[in-house]
Amino acid sequence: MFLAKSEYLQKIKKIADMCKELKISVYIWGEKGVGKTFLAKYISPNAVINPVKPTINPIIIEDFDKKPSIEFKNTIIIATGTKPLNKDILKRYFTMDIELKPLKEHPEDIEEFINYFLSKAQKELKINKNIKISDPDISENLNSLKRQIYQQLLFPEKKEKIFELLKEIYLNNHSTYENELKLFEKTLFEAMKIKYGSKLQISERLKINRVTLTKKMKALNV
């Protein structure tokens, strides 16, 4: 399935469709996680990825820019990489190159991708939970977005589960009593700060003396 809400991706899709029909060798480049291999597979669905021996099928070569040579001849070559190729090399092996821009340059598509990954993850993990992603992580484009969705889906709902996880971690490594408590306190205070804002409120809710709270917060750098 090719998701394309933005005008930019629709253009890419149109070109990819034509490449498919014309059987053209293409070099696709762009940042990490923009969907280069996906596009390559879309252009040539029955291609062999990173083949070791010659094949009659079209081939897809990943990270072509790191090692720009092809050991065996093939009529249709689709390669991916993170950097644009030198013009001579490009002309020798390919007809054209397509640049896939990072997600931040066509943010209209982010929502579509979230919905797509979410439904896919729900099916895969058999979790019927709805989550809302208000702050999509697109630092590594689709890779980080996908990770974020899975993480949120698998996030434990009950506190007990978190403590169970913590227990597992403590079994493997731990620091001193004081440090561990500090870490816990810091997390707690940070959360409270976001939730309530003022120290007065926090002290009331947590049932702790305000002066003690202020001291502790200062010491913990909250």
Partner: protein, 221 residues
């Protein structure tokens, strides 16, 4: 014998009388004069003729419409007649027409070029496509490379395709009609291709493609 050589010389040879009428022209010049007005040629002669009765030869690029010459010799003995011999451009290379041919719809290739170039740069395209052109065998990669090279960094491009009526090209003892892909644009450089004949003119370029509907064995690779 002299006349025979003059008649079949590959360089056009024309002799005018003082009124500008043609006294003699060889076969090559006949083709030339069927496209170019003789007055235009006569004026050129008068402008570039030597001052005294003699022969003047000069090598420089001269153009008459689509005809391009590398030089000319103008000569006369007396006032009654003047002759000219143009030197044809011998800077031609043999073109590999029948290699790596693939059956392709030409309109699709051109549409593809338009889409692709629109993604890479902002170019205004006007395309007129002759729907009577069938699917043809063509060296796809070379053709696309050529189109990309022409259209690269252009702001406005006009593309028209048509079948040249009455013009043929002979390849492997077979006659093929010619398709012209006319590309009018801001011409920046002289473009040559080892696979296609490219005519560089003032307005842009004309790519001439043989209309090959079927291929013979060994060429369909």
């Amino acid at each position: 014998m002299f006349e025979f050589w003059c008649e079949y010389d590959i360089n056009p040879l024309i002799i005018f009388n003082q009124k500008g009428n043609i006294v003699y022209c060889n076969q090559e010049a006949e083709i030339f004069l069927s496209y170019i007005n003789k007055k235009e040629v006569f004026d050129f002669l008068l402008k570039n003729a030597p001052k005294k009765p003699s022969i003047k030869t000069e090598f420089r690029k001269i153009n008459f419409k689509d005809f391009e010459f590398n030089g000319y010799s103008i000569g006369y003995k007396d006032d009654s007649q003047i002759g000219v011999r143009f030197f044809i451009n011998t800077d031609t290379h043999s073109i590999i027409y029948l290699e790596k041919l693939e059956k392709i719809d030409l309109s699709m290739i051109i549409n593809f070029t338009v889409e692709y170039m629109n993604l890479k740069q902002n170019t205004k395209f006007t395309v007129y496509f002759d729907p009577s052109i069938p699917e043809i065998y063509i060296n796809k990669k070379a053709f696309l490379d050529l189109l990309f090279e022409i259209i690269e960094n252009q702001e406005k491009v006009y593309i028209e395709t048509k079948i040249n009526i009455g013009e043929y090209i002979k390849l492997n003892q077979k006659k093929f009609p010619i398709i012209s892909v006319i590309i009018e644009t801001n011409k920046k450089k002289h473009i040559k291709s080892p696979y296609f004949e490219v005519i560089n003119n003032k307005k842009g370029y004309i790519i001439q493609i043989p209309l090959i509907k079927e291929t013979y064995e060994n060429h369909n690779t």
